[in-house]
């Protein structure tokens, strides 16, 4: 019942999305705030602190877009969404941007009528096991009991992986990550599988993280990125190029600390000048102020700064850059030129 209502809603959402259409940027400017959909709480990506201020890696994207459009990184209304409500919230216009560690898939992009504006985190599904199990590869997991969140793509990936490798497993369905932690620690399952970033965050909370290991296999591609409604390309461009600006800023060495200085007067690097609006008309082409990217970078720093502050190796989560390094460092982050 729940599911059919949900699917029905999505179908209608798809139809409505075409209608809702045009000029999100005008609505955002008129309202003076950006309605940004985030998770109801995911370690490192979005969580409210003790004062109710949202913080995290996805939150950083929201704040950067708000800063670029409205000039104020605090002009964001964070709308907590669940896995079930996120797409209708976006399709119905309740939110203008969804930055909620959402995997970019064909059907979400094409069938549900959304536009993914980029990837802010390349994730993939991994496995965590207790070291005492003596397993060093996921292919040795024949007959294991696996804790798995129901109703997610991870469930399907898991089934695919075990079928391809011709080994069997016994799923232990769980509802939330918190429940999974308890079940896994209590020994209700041998293996816990979810996105590798989630595994790292979970492992970091254990009393003895050293007793547990994340297996080397990553069995799926999970490009997580912000998305907007299909059909409003102006708004999509703003979100896309704000994200690109953050990544480009890291590439060119523009940080929240030196952005003021670099933007004060044209530098010898024309690419930086065009990005920061001291040369060319890129801001005007987007329909924004010339210093839109300056404000976006000042909001929370460039991509690298956001990463280090929220999920990087100096945080308890301790994720390495891996695929999320710049292409110059062997990662996948490669933004088109600003010109």
């Amino acid at each position: 019942m729940k599911k059919s209502v949900f699917l029905g809603a999505l179908t209608v959402a798809g139809l409505a999305a075409g209608v809702a259409g045009a000029a999100t940027v005008d609505d955002v400017k008129a309202a003076g705030k950006l309605n940004c959909g985030v998770t109801t709480g995911l370690v490192g990506f979005a969580a409210p602190d003790a004062n109710g201020e949202w913080e995290g890696f996805d939150v950083g994207v929201c704040r950067a877009v708000a800063a670029a459009v409205l000039g104020d990184p605090t002009a964001v209304e964070f709308v907590p969404t669940t896995g079930k409500t996120r797409f209708t919230a976006l399709a119905s216009g309740e939110i203008d941007l969804l930055a909620r560690n959402t995997t970019w898939t064909f059907s979400r992009d094409v069938d549900l009528k959304f536009t993914f504006v980029g990837v802010n985190y390349y994730d993939g599904q991994g496995f965590m096991v207790p070291k005492e199990l003596g397993v060093s590869s996921a292919k040795e997991l024949d007959g294991a009991t696996v804790c798995i969140q129901t109703g997610t793509t991870t469930e399907l990936n898991l089934a695919d992986f075990f079928r391809v490798n011709n080994i069997s497993y016994e799923p232990v369905p769980i509802e939330t990550n918190a429940e999974a932690q308890q079940q896994f620690l209590a020994g209700a399952c041998d293996v816990y599988t979810t996105d590798a970033s989630g595994l790292a965050a979970t492992r970091a909370t254990f009393e003895n993280p050293g007793d547990y290991a994340v297996l080397p296999e990553i069995i799926s591609k999970e490009p997580l990125g912000p998305l907007v409604r299909h059909g409003d390309d102006e708004w999509g461009d703003i979100a896309r190029w704000t994200l690109n600006a953050l990544i480009a800023a890291e590439e060119y060495g523009v940080t929240s600390a030196n952005v003021e200085e670099l933007a004060a007067a044209p530098t010898d690097n024309p690419e930086i000048n065009r990005l920061l609006g001291t040369e060319g008309e890129l801001g005007a082409m987007l329909g924004l102020e010339a210093d839109w990217a300056v404000k976006a970078i000042k909001a929370g720093g460039n991509y690298g700064e956001l990463f280090e502050k929220n999920i990087g190796e100096n945080t308890p989560i301790g994720l390495a850059r891996g695929l999320n390094a710049l292409y110059t460092d062997g990662g996948l982050l490669y933004v088109p030129p600003f010109r």
Binding site: V5, K84, T85
Partner: protein
């Protein structure tokens, strides 16, 4: 004969013996224990086993419970303080208890929900404890439903006043119509006029007056900032407060002789009872979003409140119908024999008895509804359980589990247990079976 008798008996006591204390093995704690706990070897064995079990539980729980982690600022720090021992990490409650109570409500405005709660208790007083409060306070109770949204959401006071005016307008129309039509038609027309006023005119008129005469404007707080127990209590109180009158009307409608009224009530009750609450919440959060014209700003909390109220009303209607069915038909006949019309009979004879019979069921429904408010976390509202999840998403507290649920459970217990005790008090007070 008496002389010989006097000589055969050696001793006759001439004073009464002082009454002795019963032996210590019969009374007091020892006596109680003997008669209740060690009454035979089976009982004694069970007692000893139970005591051992309780001791085992407490020896595990109490050291965990009383752990010196109140001032810690993260789970890691808790573990350092405990140095390998098992123990609760209470720092999370110290840091987040205000958030758990008030959600994201601006901290400088906390006085508003607190004042609302105090006024709520004051408004409930004359309704719940008729013996201890002056009846005149009932006027305040009637005003409270309009005061509450103004205090919580802020804005101008004209909006709640205009909503209240709708009732006045409805009554005026009803009174005017009564001169030309019968009660049913008058009531219908009055309801239609009032609803039209609320939907189309109340807001513009209130805004118009507010721009001319800004009376007591409070800083507006958007619904998004509602959370924690404040959200649960707001939804719960509204649903509880509205579901009782709606439930009574539905129960009466279901027993009505008018086929149209009866069919409408039966359909409503059976439809709502046939659908899980979570589905109604999804309708409120997801479907309505799409069916309403784009740009409509129909507050999500208001939508949820309406759905929870409808849900509770359907259950309430059946509980009250149970009470009505339990009344002997002699009561109905007696009311008719006295020449009372339908409404007078309901008000004076049927309802007081039917409601009294239904008290345990009504309060169970109330408690159930209040606890069901935690389901809103599934549609992304940050109720206490949703907030527990959000707090765990903070890197400092990721992995804290039981402490948050114990705190939330304890607060829920206080609310639900008070409701339950009140219902027992009310049953005792309304008891008429003793002679």
């Amino acid at each position: 004969m008496s002389d010989t008798h006097a000589e055969t008996v050696l001793f006759v006591r001439e004073t009464m013996l002082e009454q002795q204390e019963p032996p210590s093995s019969i009374v007091g704690p020892v006596g109680w224990a003997r008669s209740n706990l060690f009454n035979g070897w089976k009982n004694s064995l069970l007692t000893v086993l139970s005591l051992a079990f309780v001791f085992y539980l407490l020896s595990g729980l109490l050291p965990w419970f009383f752990s010196p982690t109140w001032y810690s600022t993260s789970l890691t720090e808790c573990r350092e303080i405990l140095a390998g021992h098992e123990g609760a990490c209470w720092g999370v409650i110290r840091e987040r208890w205000l958030q758990l109570l008030f959600g994201f409500y601006p901290s400088e405005l906390y006085w508003r929900p607190i004042l609302t709660l105090i006024l709520l208790l004051l408004a409930l007083g004359p309704v719940l404890y008729t013996d201890y409060f002056p009846p005149k306070l009932l006027y305040f109770s009637a005003a409270f439903p309009f005061l509450m949204p103004w205090l919580l959401w802020g804005g101008s006071i004209w909006m709640p006043l205009m909503v209240a005016a709708g009732f006045g307008i409805g009554y005026a129309v009803f009174a005017a119509m009564m001169k030309v039509a019968n009660a049913g038609i008058s009531l219908f027309v009055a309801a239609v006029v009032a609803v039209l006023w609320w939907i189309f005119l109340a807001a513009p008129v209130a805004n118009g007056i507010a721009s001319l005469v800004p009376l007591l404007p409070l800083e507006p707080v958007p619904s998004r900032n509602f959370g924690g127990f404040m959200l649960s209590v707001t939804i719960g109180v509204t649903a509880i407060g509205c579901s009782l009158p709606i439930g009574i009307v539905l129960a009466l409608g279901r027993r009505s002789d008018l086929p149209l009224v009866k069919v409408l009530c039966v359909c409503f009750i059976e439809f709502i009872r046939g659908v899980p609450l979570i589905t109604l919440l999804f309708v409120a959060s997801v479907l309505l979003n799409i069916f309403l014209p784009p740009g409509t700003n129909f507050d999500i909390i208001l939508r949820v409140m309406i759905m929870v109220t409808l849900f509770a009303s359907a259950y309430m209607a059946e509980v009250i119908r149970g009470g009505l069915a339990a009344l002997p038909s002699g009561q109905y006949e007696a009311a008719d024999a006295l020449g009372l019309d339908y409404w007078k009979a309901q008000r004076l004879i049927i309802m007081p008895q039917a409601l009294k019979i239904s008290i345990p069921g009504i309060v169970s429904t109330f408690i159930g509804v209040f606890k069901d408010t935690t389901l809103v976390s599934i549609i992304g509202l940050i109720d206490p359980l949703g907030l527990a999840n959000a707090i765990r998403a903070d890197t400092a507290w990721n992995g804290v589990y039981w402490e948050l649920f114990i705190f939330i459970g304890a607060v829920f217990f206080i609310f639900c247990f008070s409701m339950s005790r009140y219902s027992m008090y009310l049953e005792r007070k309304l008891q008429t079976g003793h002679h």
